[in-house]
Symmetry: C2
Subunit: 278 residues, 2 copies
């Protein structure tokens, strides 16, 4: 596995490979990799000639009071996991943005609710960094996790609107054996808080069970009320049932929907989501 | 010369050519082509294997009271001029933006002054449409006129910041024999107003003559006062002397600078610019 820190050198190699007709696969990450990430690499690996993984903790997507400075890092462990997943080039940029960087990319509408409502810089930071990463890596296929369901929808929209010639694939959310959605931030959780964090997946599973019992036509409010009873947040952010493409609220569940949940336990931000199928 | 109206079909051809190692050249326009445009095509033609010219009057960059509806059009004349300039494919999209298009690209700072100050939607509309056009056409080299000097600086910044693998070339401003900078909007001018419009290039030439006489170290204010005396606008917008890259005001002209002027004569927006060399 190659290591690359220079954006322009990586881009030069990418352009050379594209001109040879190679297919480039890409998984952008913020590091502290877990099985959720490596599952995305597995998907990308099967779709490309050259697989690039980036690790960059992007300051643009963190708010002033968020955990940018203490975001967990493990460069050596990450490199070993990437090598194990068959990654060809690991891109860990030293200097990523030009010093007078002044361009931003934004998606309106889809970014208003959920994580965008409580984190105003978040999606603008993501669409900007992903645009620049796509420019550097020149991928034919990019894989993002369904764990960040709203992010996936936003990236798909950006790619379509800017006519980026990139196939965006969503990789399934990966759970620990106890049901907790894998996340780099889970390391912040004490054992007691981790136990309480199981209420996210517990609420979502209960909502699906209730929907299976009541069937198509069940109101979202019935399911949401049942879910809210189970959630054990210190600070509740959102629990909603939406159309999987537009992320618009579905008042009646008459077809496949997606339940999204987010909030804080002991200062740690946790999100989860699940398909709801009548 | 091929005609193409379908963005995705054009992109498919572009990707096929890129994968064969071809170099794609691109000149985006809003049509009603004149010698200023064809000079850009000549530059691009010499740099590429496949030359694409787009004609699209982009609604995003027009304000509500501007001339979108009456912007001049001449599709047949334009096609003849493109064929004469050796264009391979003329792209005139029928449906350009997806119906729920919601992504925007913006450059901060460089867009604040000059045309950006009086036209608040203008540069956001340009960077967004050019991003999507670049996605569709996949150029290796794109040529923009120095006539729109601020636009050229903004596009260069966007391309650098988003790491678009595109060489941006600025083509020299082309003047009519009387000195008027060529523009599709010149057709709006009556003979009397066209005569008054010569005051733009007249002011700029006079500023250069004065600078040549006074030499390096002349104050911008001296040159600007002399220029303003000559300008015959109905509505003055700006006359400034700036650093050619940063577009920041230069109070003392001790090296090469650029003078930029904009305003209205009889309701027609006119801009011009010239290098100022001590």
């Amino acid at each position: 596995m190659d290591h690359q820190t220079d954006p322009l050198a990586l881009q030069a190699e990418a352009l050379r490979r594209r001109a040879e007709g190679q297919r480039i696969g890409f998984v952008p990450t913020m590091g502290y990799l877990h099985q959720g990430h490596t599952s995305l690499m597995d998907i990308a690996r099967s779709q490309c000639d050259w697989l690039v993984v980036s690790i960059f903790v992007n300051p643009l997507q963190f708010g002033p009071s968020e955990d940018l400075d203490r975001y967990p890092r493990d460069p050596e462990g990450d490199a070993a996991k990437c090598a194990g997943a068959g990654v060809d080039t690991l891109f860990m940029p030293q200097h990523f943005y030009p010093s007078d960087h002044s361009t931003s990319v934004a998606v309106a509408g889809l970014t208003d609710g959920f994580c965008g409502a409580s984190r105003p810089n978040f999606f603008g930071g993501i669409t900007t960094v992903v645009s620049r990463l796509f420019g550097i890596v020149q991928p034919s296929v990019a894989v993002f996790g369904e764990k960040d369901f709203q992010q996936l929808a936003v990236i798909r929209r950006m790619v379509r609107d800017l006519a980026m010639p990139i196939e965006v694939i969503g990789g399934p959310l990966i759970r620990d054996t106890d049901g907790l959605a894998m996340s780099s931030r889970n390391r912040y959780l004490t054992p007691e808080r981790r136990q309480r964090a199981l209420s996210l997946s517990g609420a979502l599973k209960h909502m699906q069970a209730l929907l299976s019992q009541r069937g198509a036509g069940t109101s979202a409010e019935t399911l949401l009320a049942a879910g809210r009873e189970i959630l054990d947040f210190d600070e509740f952010d959102y629990l909603q049932i939406v159309d999987p493409d537009t992320l618009k609220d579905m008042p009646i569940i008459d077809r496949s929907a997606r339940a999204l949940v987010g909030g804080y336990i002991g200062g740690t931000r946790l999100i989860d989501n699940m398909a709801l199928i009548p």
